[in-house]
Protein backbone atom coordinates (compact mmCIF):
# COMPACT_ATOMS: atom_id res chain seq x y z
CA UNK A 1 0.00 0.00 0.00
CA UNK A 2 1.62 3.22 -1.18
CA UNK A 3 0.19 6.63 -0.24
CA UNK A 4 1.46 9.95 -1.56
CA UNK A 5 0.43 13.20 0.09
CA UNK A 6 1.13 16.02 -2.31
CA UNK A 7 0.20 19.47 -3.53
CA UNK A 8 0.24 20.52 -7.20
CA UNK A 9 2.65 18.50 -9.40
CA UNK A 10 5.29 21.17 -9.00
CA UNK A 11 8.69 21.34 -7.28
CA UNK A 12 8.97 18.85 -4.38
CA UNK A 13 5.42 17.49 -4.63
CA UNK A 14 6.03 16.52 -8.24
CA UNK A 15 9.05 14.29 -7.54
CA UNK A 16 7.38 11.23 -5.94
CA UNK A 17 4.52 11.50 -8.43
CA UNK A 18 6.95 11.32 -11.35
CA UNK A 19 8.78 8.39 -9.75
CA UNK A 20 5.66 6.23 -9.41
CA UNK A 21 4.43 7.18 -12.86
CA UNK A 22 7.80 6.33 -14.44
CA UNK A 23 7.71 2.89 -12.83
CA UNK A 24 3.97 2.32 -13.30
CA UNK A 25 3.40 1.82 -9.57
CA UNK A 26 -0.16 1.93 -8.19
CA UNK A 27 -0.58 4.50 -5.42
CA UNK A 28 -3.26 6.42 -3.55
CA UNK A 29 -3.17 10.18 -4.03
CA UNK A 30 -4.00 12.56 -1.16
CA UNK A 31 -4.18 16.17 -2.25
CA UNK A 32 -2.92 18.55 0.43
CA UNK A 33 -3.80 22.18 -0.24
CA UNK A 34 -0.53 23.89 0.63
CA UNK A 35 -1.94 27.39 0.29
CA UNK A 36 -4.74 26.52 2.72
CA UNK A 37 -1.95 25.29 5.08
CA UNK A 38 -3.44 21.78 5.21
CA UNK A 39 0.09 20.48 5.78
CA UNK A 40 0.17 21.99 9.28
CA UNK A 41 -3.18 20.61 10.42
CA UNK A 42 -3.35 17.81 13.01
CA UNK A 43 -4.67 15.22 10.51
CA UNK A 44 -1.60 15.69 8.35
CA UNK A 45 0.86 16.03 11.23
CA UNK A 46 -0.29 12.56 12.28
CA UNK A 47 1.10 11.34 8.92
CA UNK A 48 4.21 13.53 8.80
CA UNK A 49 5.10 15.24 12.10
CA UNK A 50 7.42 17.66 10.30
CA UNK A 51 4.47 19.18 8.44
CA UNK A 52 6.30 19.23 5.11
CA UNK A 53 4.93 18.02 1.79
CA UNK A 54 5.15 15.73 0.00
CA UNK A 55 4.99 12.65 2.22
CA UNK A 56 5.16 9.06 1.09
CA UNK A 57 3.92 6.21 3.27
CA UNK A 58 4.66 2.65 2.19
CA UNK A 59 3.08 -0.15 4.22
CA UNK A 60 2.91 2.13 7.23
CA UNK A 61 6.48 3.48 6.98
CA UNK A 62 7.09 7.17 6.29
CA UNK A 63 9.63 7.71 3.52
CA UNK A 64 11.53 10.98 3.96
CA UNK A 65 12.75 13.73 1.59
CA UNK A 66 11.21 14.20 -1.86
CA UNK A 67 14.40 13.51 -3.86
CA UNK A 68 15.21 10.45 -1.75
CA UNK A 69 11.65 9.19 -2.40
CA UNK A 70 12.72 8.66 -6.02
CA UNK A 71 15.57 6.41 -4.79
CA UNK A 72 13.11 4.53 -2.61
CA UNK A 73 10.62 3.91 -5.41
CA UNK A 74 13.49 2.85 -7.66
CA UNK A 75 14.82 0.35 -5.11
CA UNK A 76 11.48 -1.19 -4.17
CA UNK A 77 9.54 -1.46 -7.43
CA UNK A 78 10.12 -3.12 -10.79
CA UNK A 79 10.42 -1.12 -14.00
CA UNK A 80 13.00 0.92 -15.87
CA UNK A 81 15.71 2.18 -13.48
CA UNK A 82 15.62 5.82 -12.37
CA UNK A 83 19.27 5.86 -11.28
CA UNK A 84 22.38 5.08 -13.35
CA UNK A 85 24.18 1.84 -12.59
CA UNK A 86 27.58 3.43 -13.28
CA UNK A 87 28.94 4.85 -9.97
CA UNK A 88 30.34 8.01 -11.56
CA UNK A 89 27.05 8.78 -13.28
CA UNK A 90 25.35 8.16 -9.94
CA UNK A 91 27.68 10.75 -8.40
CA UNK A 92 26.79 13.17 -11.20
CA UNK A 93 23.11 12.52 -10.58
CA UNK A 94 23.59 13.35 -6.88
CA UNK A 95 25.51 16.50 -7.77
CA UNK A 96 22.72 17.80 -10.00
CA UNK A 97 20.00 16.81 -7.53
CA UNK A 98 21.77 18.85 -4.87
CA UNK A 99 22.26 21.75 -7.27
CA UNK A 100 18.51 21.72 -8.03
CA UNK A 101 17.36 21.16 -4.44
CA UNK A 102 19.64 23.55 -2.61
CA UNK A 103 20.73 26.15 -5.16
CA UNK A 104 18.36 26.65 -8.09
CA UNK A 105 15.12 25.41 -6.49
CA UNK A 106 15.12 27.87 -3.58
CA UNK A 107 16.09 30.72 -5.94
CA UNK A 108 13.21 29.91 -8.32
CA UNK A 109 10.70 29.48 -5.53
CA UNK A 110 11.76 32.73 -3.85
CA UNK A 111 11.10 34.64 -7.08
CA UNK A 112 7.85 32.74 -7.60
CA UNK A 113 6.66 33.60 -4.11
CA UNK A 114 7.64 37.22 -4.24
CA UNK A 115 6.00 37.73 -7.65
CA UNK A 116 2.95 35.45 -7.72
CA UNK A 117 2.05 33.59 -4.55
CA UNK A 118 2.86 36.12 -1.82
CA UNK A 119 0.55 38.87 -3.16
CA UNK A 120 -2.22 36.28 -3.63
CA UNK A 121 -1.97 34.90 -0.09
CA UNK A 122 -1.79 38.38 1.44
CA UNK A 123 -5.38 38.99 0.30
CA UNK A 124 -6.49 36.75 3.14
CA UNK A 125 -7.44 37.65 6.70
CA UNK A 126 -4.23 38.65 8.58
CA UNK A 127 -5.22 36.98 11.85
CA UNK A 128 -5.88 33.67 10.07
CA UNK A 129 -2.49 33.91 8.35
CA UNK A 130 -0.70 34.62 11.63
CA UNK A 131 -2.38 31.64 13.27
CA UNK A 132 -1.44 29.45 10.30
CA UNK A 133 2.24 30.45 10.61
CA UNK A 134 2.29 29.79 14.35
CA UNK A 135 1.14 26.21 13.79
CA UNK A 136 4.19 25.30 11.64
CA UNK A 137 6.27 22.73 13.56
CA UNK A 138 9.78 23.22 12.11
CA UNK A 139 11.43 26.56 12.87
CA UNK A 140 13.10 26.74 9.42
CA UNK A 141 9.72 26.32 7.76
CA UNK A 142 8.12 28.91 10.06
CA UNK A 143 10.72 31.48 9.06
CA UNK A 144 10.45 30.56 5.37
CA UNK A 145 6.65 30.78 5.30
CA UNK A 146 6.62 34.01 7.21
CA UNK A 147 9.08 35.59 4.76
CA UNK A 148 7.09 34.23 1.83
CA UNK A 149 3.72 35.37 3.10
CA UNK A 150 4.75 38.85 4.21
CA UNK A 151 7.07 39.35 1.25
CA UNK A 152 9.99 40.39 3.44
CA UNK A 153 12.67 39.30 1.00
CA UNK A 154 15.25 42.04 0.69
CA UNK A 155 16.14 43.42 -2.74
CA UNK A 156 19.59 41.94 -2.18
CA UNK A 157 18.17 38.45 -1.62
CA UNK A 158 16.02 38.67 -4.73
CA UNK A 159 18.96 39.93 -6.78
CA UNK A 160 21.01 36.95 -5.58
CA UNK A 161 18.20 34.57 -6.60
CA UNK A 162 18.03 36.15 -10.05
CA UNK A 163 21.81 35.90 -10.43
CA UNK A 164 21.70 32.22 -9.46
CA UNK A 165 19.01 31.48 -12.01
CA UNK A 166 20.91 33.37 -14.72
CA UNK A 167 24.16 31.47 -14.10
CA UNK A 168 22.50 28.17 -13.19
CA UNK A 169 20.54 27.92 -16.44
CA UNK A 170 23.80 28.49 -18.34
CA UNK A 171 25.42 25.67 -16.35
CA UNK A 172 22.57 23.31 -17.26
CA UNK A 173 22.83 24.40 -20.89
CA UNK A 174 26.56 23.66 -20.89
CA UNK A 175 26.09 20.22 -19.31
CA UNK A 176 23.61 19.31 -22.04
CA UNK A 177 26.14 20.08 -24.79
CA UNK A 178 27.45 16.52 -24.65
CA UNK A 179 24.31 14.52 -23.77
CA UNK A 180 20.52 14.63 -23.85
CA UNK A 181 20.04 14.00 -20.13
CA UNK A 182 21.68 15.88 -17.32
CA UNK A 183 23.61 13.09 -15.54
CA UNK A 184 23.72 10.08 -17.82
CA UNK A 185 22.90 8.75 -21.30
CA UNK A 186 19.38 8.04 -20.01
CA UNK A 187 16.80 9.93 -18.03
CA UNK A 188 17.49 9.72 -14.26
CA UNK A 189 16.13 11.11 -11.00
CA UNK A 190 18.14 14.30 -11.66
CA UNK A 191 16.17 15.03 -14.85
CA UNK A 192 12.86 14.37 -13.11
CA UNK A 193 13.72 16.46 -10.04
CA UNK A 194 15.25 19.26 -12.11
CA UNK A 195 12.27 19.41 -14.42
CA UNK A 196 9.87 19.72 -11.49
CA UNK A 197 11.93 22.55 -10.01
CA UNK A 198 12.34 24.50 -13.23
CA UNK A 199 9.65 23.80 -15.84
CA UNK A 200 7.89 27.09 -15.07
CA UNK A 201 11.05 29.15 -15.50
CA UNK A 202 10.64 30.11 -19.20
CA UNK A 203 7.31 31.70 -18.27
CA UNK A 204 8.31 33.07 -14.86
CA UNK A 205 11.75 34.38 -15.72
CA UNK A 206 12.17 34.47 -19.51
CA UNK A 207 15.38 36.51 -19.23
CA UNK A 208 17.09 33.43 -17.78
CA UNK A 209 15.46 30.69 -19.85
CA UNK A 210 14.69 31.18 -23.53
CA UNK A 211 15.54 29.59 -26.87
CA UNK A 212 18.20 32.14 -27.76
CA UNK A 213 20.11 32.21 -24.50
CA UNK A 214 19.67 28.60 -23.33
CA UNK A 215 18.47 26.49 -26.29
CA UNK A 216 19.70 23.19 -24.87
CA UNK A 217 18.05 23.85 -21.51
CA UNK A 218 14.79 24.63 -23.33
CA UNK A 219 15.14 21.48 -25.45
CA UNK A 220 15.74 19.43 -22.30
CA UNK A 221 12.62 20.84 -20.60
CA UNK A 222 10.56 19.87 -23.68
CA UNK A 223 12.21 16.42 -23.85
CA UNK A 224 11.45 15.67 -20.20
CA UNK A 225 8.00 17.25 -20.59
CA UNK A 226 7.11 14.88 -23.44
CA UNK A 227 7.65 11.78 -21.30
CA UNK A 228 4.36 9.97 -20.71
CA UNK A 229 4.97 9.97 -16.95
CA UNK A 230 5.46 13.70 -16.89
CA UNK A 231 2.32 14.32 -18.97
CA UNK A 232 0.32 12.11 -16.62
CA UNK A 233 1.70 13.84 -13.53
CA UNK A 234 1.06 17.31 -14.91
CA UNK A 235 -2.49 16.31 -15.88
CA UNK A 236 -3.13 16.39 -12.10
CA UNK A 237 -2.17 20.06 -12.10
CA UNK A 238 -4.52 22.99 -12.11
CA UNK A 239 -4.36 26.75 -12.66
CA UNK A 240 -1.01 28.29 -13.44
CA UNK A 241 0.87 24.98 -13.23
CA UNK A 242 -1.24 23.34 -15.94
CA UNK A 243 -0.98 26.54 -17.95
CA UNK A 244 2.82 26.77 -17.71
CA UNK A 245 3.14 23.12 -18.70
CA UNK A 246 0.79 23.53 -21.69
CA UNK A 247 2.75 26.59 -22.81
CA UNK A 248 6.03 24.72 -22.56
CA UNK A 249 4.78 21.85 -24.71
CA UNK A 250 3.18 24.19 -27.24
CA UNK A 251 6.34 26.29 -27.60
CA UNK A 252 8.81 25.39 -30.31
CA UNK A 253 12.57 25.66 -30.24
CA UNK A 254 14.52 27.65 -32.78
Amino acid sequence: MLDIYHWEPNANSGKPLLAVMEKGVAYTSHFIDMLAFDQHKPEYLAVNPNGTIPAMVHDGTLIQESTAMIDYVDMVFEGAPLRPSDPFELWRMRWWCRFFDEYLGPAASQLGWSTFVGPMVRQRDPATLRAAIERIPLKERRVAWSKAIYGTFTEEELAESRARLLSGTLAIDAALASRDWIASEDCTAADLAGFMMLFGLPMMFPDAANDTRTPRFMGWLRRVGQRPSVRRALALGSGRFAERFAQLLASKGT
Binding site: T61, I63, Q64, E65, T67, A68, M69, D71, Y72, M75, V76, P87, F88, L90, W91, R92, R94, W95, W96, R98, F99, D101, E102, Y103, P106, A107, S109, Q110, K139, E140, R141, V143, A144, W145, K147, A148, F153, E157, E160, A163, A171, A174, A175
Partner: protein, 258 residues
Protein backbone atom coordinates in the same frame (compact mmCIF):
# COMPACT_ATOMS: atom_id res chain seq x y z
CA UNK B 1 44.55 5.66 -10.63
CA UNK B 2 42.78 7.06 -7.58
CA UNK B 3 43.82 10.39 -6.06
CA UNK B 4 42.44 12.44 -3.20
CA UNK B 5 43.24 16.13 -2.78
CA UNK B 6 42.64 16.94 0.85
CA UNK B 7 43.42 19.22 3.77
CA UNK B 8 43.35 18.52 7.53
CA UNK B 9 41.42 15.36 8.53
CA UNK B 10 38.34 17.22 9.78
CA UNK B 11 34.86 17.90 8.46
CA UNK B 12 34.46 17.16 4.74
CA UNK B 13 38.13 16.16 4.32
CA UNK B 14 37.84 13.48 7.01
CA UNK B 15 34.93 11.58 5.39
CA UNK B 16 36.63 10.10 2.29
CA UNK B 17 39.79 9.35 4.31
CA UNK B 18 37.75 7.16 6.67
CA UNK B 19 35.93 5.46 3.79
CA UNK B 20 39.24 4.67 2.03
CA UNK B 21 40.69 3.22 5.24
CA UNK B 22 37.56 1.23 6.13
CA UNK B 23 37.48 -0.38 2.69
CA UNK B 24 41.22 -0.79 2.35
CA UNK B 25 41.36 1.16 -0.94
CA UNK B 26 44.78 2.26 -2.17
CA UNK B 27 44.79 5.97 -2.99
CA UNK B 28 47.40 8.63 -3.68
CA UNK B 29 46.92 11.49 -1.23
CA UNK B 30 47.77 15.07 -2.19
CA UNK B 31 47.85 17.59 0.62
CA UNK B 32 46.35 20.94 -0.35
CA UNK B 33 46.91 24.01 1.82
CA UNK B 34 43.44 25.52 1.81
CA UNK B 35 44.50 28.57 3.84
CA UNK B 36 46.92 29.65 1.10
CA UNK B 37 44.27 28.92 -1.58
CA UNK B 38 46.24 26.08 -3.19
CA UNK B 39 42.88 24.51 -4.11
CA UNK B 40 42.53 27.22 -6.76
CA UNK B 41 46.14 27.02 -7.85
CA UNK B 42 48.10 25.37 -10.67
CA UNK B 43 48.78 22.12 -8.79
CA UNK B 44 45.12 21.15 -9.07
CA UNK B 45 43.52 19.51 -12.12
CA UNK B 46 41.41 21.96 -14.14
CA UNK B 47 37.89 21.79 -12.67
CA UNK B 48 34.93 20.38 -14.57
CA UNK B 49 31.55 22.06 -14.92
CA UNK B 50 30.37 20.28 -11.77
CA UNK B 51 33.48 20.43 -9.57
CA UNK B 52 33.91 24.15 -10.25
CA UNK B 53 30.66 24.85 -8.38
CA UNK B 54 31.11 23.21 -4.99
CA UNK B 55 28.04 23.58 -2.78
CA UNK B 56 30.10 22.15 0.07
CA UNK B 57 32.27 25.27 0.02
CA UNK B 58 35.88 24.22 0.58
CA UNK B 59 36.22 20.43 0.54
CA UNK B 60 38.08 17.45 -0.88
CA UNK B 61 38.45 16.49 -4.54
CA UNK B 62 38.56 12.86 -5.65
CA UNK B 63 39.95 11.93 -9.06
CA UNK B 64 39.47 8.41 -10.36
CA UNK B 65 41.00 7.66 -13.77
CA UNK B 66 40.55 11.31 -14.69
CA UNK B 67 36.97 11.58 -13.43
CA UNK B 68 36.62 14.31 -10.83
CA UNK B 69 34.27 14.38 -7.87
CA UNK B 70 33.61 16.86 -5.06
CA UNK B 71 31.06 16.70 -2.21
CA UNK B 72 32.38 14.55 0.62
CA UNK B 73 29.24 12.48 1.18
CA UNK B 74 28.53 11.75 -2.47
CA UNK B 75 32.19 10.90 -3.16
CA UNK B 76 31.94 8.50 -0.22
CA UNK B 77 28.88 6.90 -1.80
CA UNK B 78 30.91 6.64 -5.01
CA UNK B 79 33.81 4.91 -3.25
CA UNK B 80 31.42 2.41 -1.70
CA UNK B 81 29.73 1.72 -5.04
CA UNK B 82 32.93 1.50 -7.10
CA UNK B 83 35.17 -0.53 -4.76
CA UNK B 84 35.03 -3.83 -2.89
CA UNK B 85 35.60 -4.06 0.84
CA UNK B 86 33.37 -3.45 3.85
CA UNK B 87 29.95 -2.39 2.49
CA UNK B 88 28.96 0.98 3.93
CA UNK B 89 25.54 1.56 2.37
CA UNK B 90 22.49 -0.19 3.79
CA UNK B 91 20.74 -2.59 1.43
CA UNK B 92 17.27 -2.21 2.93
CA UNK B 93 15.37 0.55 1.06
CA UNK B 94 13.95 2.18 4.21
CA UNK B 95 17.37 2.28 5.87
CA UNK B 96 18.85 3.60 2.64
CA UNK B 97 16.21 6.33 2.70
CA UNK B 98 17.26 7.24 6.25
CA UNK B 99 20.89 7.48 5.05
CA UNK B 100 19.93 9.96 2.31
CA UNK B 101 17.74 11.95 4.70
CA UNK B 102 20.65 12.20 7.17
CA UNK B 103 22.96 13.27 4.34
CA UNK B 104 20.61 16.09 3.36
CA UNK B 105 20.22 17.22 6.97
CA UNK B 106 23.98 17.12 7.55
CA UNK B 107 24.74 19.01 4.33
CA UNK B 108 22.10 21.66 4.77
CA UNK B 109 21.74 22.12 8.52
CA UNK B 110 24.47 20.50 10.61
CA UNK B 111 27.55 21.24 8.47
CA UNK B 112 26.83 24.96 7.95
CA UNK B 113 26.19 25.35 11.68
CA UNK B 114 29.38 23.62 12.87
CA UNK B 115 31.33 25.36 10.12
CA UNK B 116 30.15 28.81 11.17
CA UNK B 117 31.18 28.24 14.78
CA UNK B 118 34.47 26.64 13.71
CA UNK B 119 35.39 29.50 11.38
CA UNK B 120 34.49 32.04 14.07
CA UNK B 121 36.52 30.34 16.73
CA UNK B 122 39.54 29.01 14.81
CA UNK B 123 39.80 30.41 11.28
CA UNK B 124 39.01 34.09 11.83
CA UNK B 125 41.63 34.62 14.59
CA UNK B 126 44.40 33.26 12.34
CA UNK B 127 43.39 35.70 9.60
CA UNK B 128 42.90 38.74 11.84
CA UNK B 129 45.03 41.71 10.71
CA UNK B 130 45.77 40.01 7.39
CA UNK B 131 44.71 41.50 4.09
CA UNK B 132 42.35 39.26 2.14
CA UNK B 133 43.74 38.26 -1.28
CA UNK B 134 40.76 39.76 -3.07
CA UNK B 135 42.15 38.98 -6.53
CA UNK B 136 41.96 35.27 -5.64
CA UNK B 137 38.70 35.44 -3.71
CA UNK B 138 36.92 37.36 -6.48
CA UNK B 139 37.61 34.47 -8.84
CA UNK B 140 35.77 31.90 -6.65
CA UNK B 141 32.62 31.08 -8.64
CA UNK B 142 30.04 30.75 -5.83
CA UNK B 143 29.03 33.94 -4.02
CA UNK B 144 28.55 32.32 -0.61
CA UNK B 145 32.08 30.87 -0.66
CA UNK B 146 33.48 34.33 -1.49
CA UNK B 147 31.36 35.80 1.32
CA UNK B 148 32.57 33.06 3.70
CA UNK B 149 36.22 33.98 3.11
CA UNK B 150 35.58 37.71 3.41
CA UNK B 151 33.71 37.16 6.67
CA UNK B 152 36.59 35.05 8.02
CA UNK B 153 39.06 37.84 7.22
CA UNK B 154 36.84 40.48 8.83
CA UNK B 155 35.82 38.28 11.77
CA UNK B 156 32.34 39.76 11.49
CA UNK B 157 29.93 36.97 12.47
CA UNK B 158 26.54 38.36 13.51
CA UNK B 159 25.29 37.22 16.92
CA UNK B 160 22.12 35.91 15.30
CA UNK B 161 24.12 33.63 12.99
CA UNK B 162 26.02 32.16 15.95
CA UNK B 163 22.82 31.61 17.95
CA UNK B 164 21.17 29.99 14.94
CA UNK B 165 24.20 27.73 14.49
CA UNK B 166 24.02 26.60 18.11
CA UNK B 167 20.32 25.87 17.69
CA UNK B 168 21.04 23.69 14.64
CA UNK B 169 23.80 21.80 16.44
CA UNK B 170 21.47 21.12 19.37
CA UNK B 171 18.90 19.79 16.89
CA UNK B 172 21.49 17.52 15.27
CA UNK B 173 22.52 16.11 18.66
CA UNK B 174 18.91 15.57 19.62
CA UNK B 175 18.25 13.65 16.40
CA UNK B 176 21.42 11.57 16.78
CA UNK B 177 20.59 10.78 20.41
CA UNK B 178 17.13 9.57 19.34
CA UNK B 179 18.54 7.49 16.46
CA UNK B 180 21.10 5.84 18.73
CA UNK B 181 18.30 4.47 20.93
CA UNK B 182 17.80 1.88 18.17
CA UNK B 183 21.31 0.47 18.05
CA UNK B 184 25.02 1.23 18.37
CA UNK B 185 25.10 3.06 15.01
CA UNK B 186 23.00 5.89 13.59
CA UNK B 187 21.12 3.59 11.22
CA UNK B 188 20.72 0.82 13.79
CA UNK B 189 22.73 -2.40 13.95
CA UNK B 190 25.10 -1.76 11.08
CA UNK B 191 27.93 0.73 10.82
CA UNK B 192 27.41 2.87 7.68
CA UNK B 193 28.31 5.99 5.69
CA UNK B 194 25.90 7.91 7.95
CA UNK B 195 28.16 7.30 10.95
CA UNK B 196 31.15 8.59 8.98
CA UNK B 197 29.16 11.54 7.62
CA UNK B 198 27.93 12.66 11.04
CA UNK B 199 31.13 11.83 12.95
CA UNK B 200 33.28 13.98 10.66
CA UNK B 201 31.22 17.00 11.75
CA UNK B 202 30.59 15.90 15.35
CA UNK B 203 34.29 15.50 16.01
CA UNK B 204 34.68 19.27 16.54
CA UNK B 205 31.74 19.62 18.93
CA UNK B 206 33.72 18.87 22.11
CA UNK B 207 35.80 22.00 21.37
CA UNK B 208 33.06 24.12 19.75
CA UNK B 209 30.03 23.45 21.92
CA UNK B 210 31.01 21.29 24.93
CA UNK B 211 27.93 22.51 26.82
CA UNK B 212 25.62 21.20 24.08
CA UNK B 213 27.31 17.77 24.17
CA UNK B 214 26.15 17.36 27.77
CA UNK B 215 22.97 15.38 28.23
CA UNK B 216 23.57 13.25 25.13
CA UNK B 217 25.15 10.12 26.64
CA UNK B 218 24.43 7.93 23.63
CA UNK B 219 26.14 10.46 21.33
CA UNK B 220 29.20 10.53 23.58
CA UNK B 221 29.39 6.72 23.63
CA UNK B 222 28.95 6.56 19.86
CA UNK B 223 31.75 9.10 19.35
CA UNK B 224 34.02 7.02 21.57
CA UNK B 225 33.08 3.93 19.53
CA UNK B 226 34.00 5.79 16.36
CA UNK B 227 37.35 6.98 17.76
CA UNK B 228 38.27 3.38 18.58
CA UNK B 229 37.92 2.15 15.01
CA UNK B 230 41.36 1.54 13.47
CA UNK B 231 40.26 3.19 10.19
CA UNK B 232 39.19 6.33 12.04
CA UNK B 233 42.42 6.47 14.05
CA UNK B 234 44.46 6.02 10.88
CA UNK B 235 42.53 8.78 9.08
CA UNK B 236 42.90 11.23 11.95
CA UNK B 237 46.65 10.66 11.81
CA UNK B 238 46.96 11.60 8.12
CA UNK B 239 49.34 14.53 7.70
CA UNK B 240 50.37 14.56 11.35
CA UNK B 241 48.02 17.37 12.40
CA UNK B 242 48.16 18.22 16.06
CA UNK B 243 44.51 19.22 16.55
CA UNK B 244 42.67 18.49 13.29
CA UNK B 245 39.31 19.18 14.97
CA UNK B 246 40.19 22.88 14.94
CA UNK B 247 40.84 23.07 11.16
CA UNK B 248 38.08 25.01 9.40
CA UNK B 249 37.60 26.78 6.06
CA UNK B 250 34.40 28.31 4.67
CA UNK B 251 31.80 25.58 4.17
CA UNK B 252 28.25 25.22 2.87
CA UNK B 253 25.82 28.12 3.21
CA UNK B 254 22.95 28.18 5.66
CA UNK B 255 19.72 27.50 3.75
CA UNK B 256 18.58 30.89 2.40
CA UNK B 257 14.94 30.11 2.94
CA UNK B 258 12.51 27.19 2.76
Amino acid sequence: MLELYHWAPNGPWLKPLIVLAEKGIACTLHKVDVLTFEQYGPAMPAPTLETRLNLEGEGPLLVHDGRQMTESFFMSEYLDAAFDGLPLRPSHPVTFNRMLAWARFINEVFMPAANTLGCTRYLAPTLANKTPPTDLIDRIPLSFVRAGWMRAYSGDYPEEMLAESRRKIALALQRAEAALANGPWLLGDRYSLTDIDAFAICRSLPVLTPDLMEGHPRCSEWMARMEERPAVRESLGVGGWERPETAFAPGPEHARWG
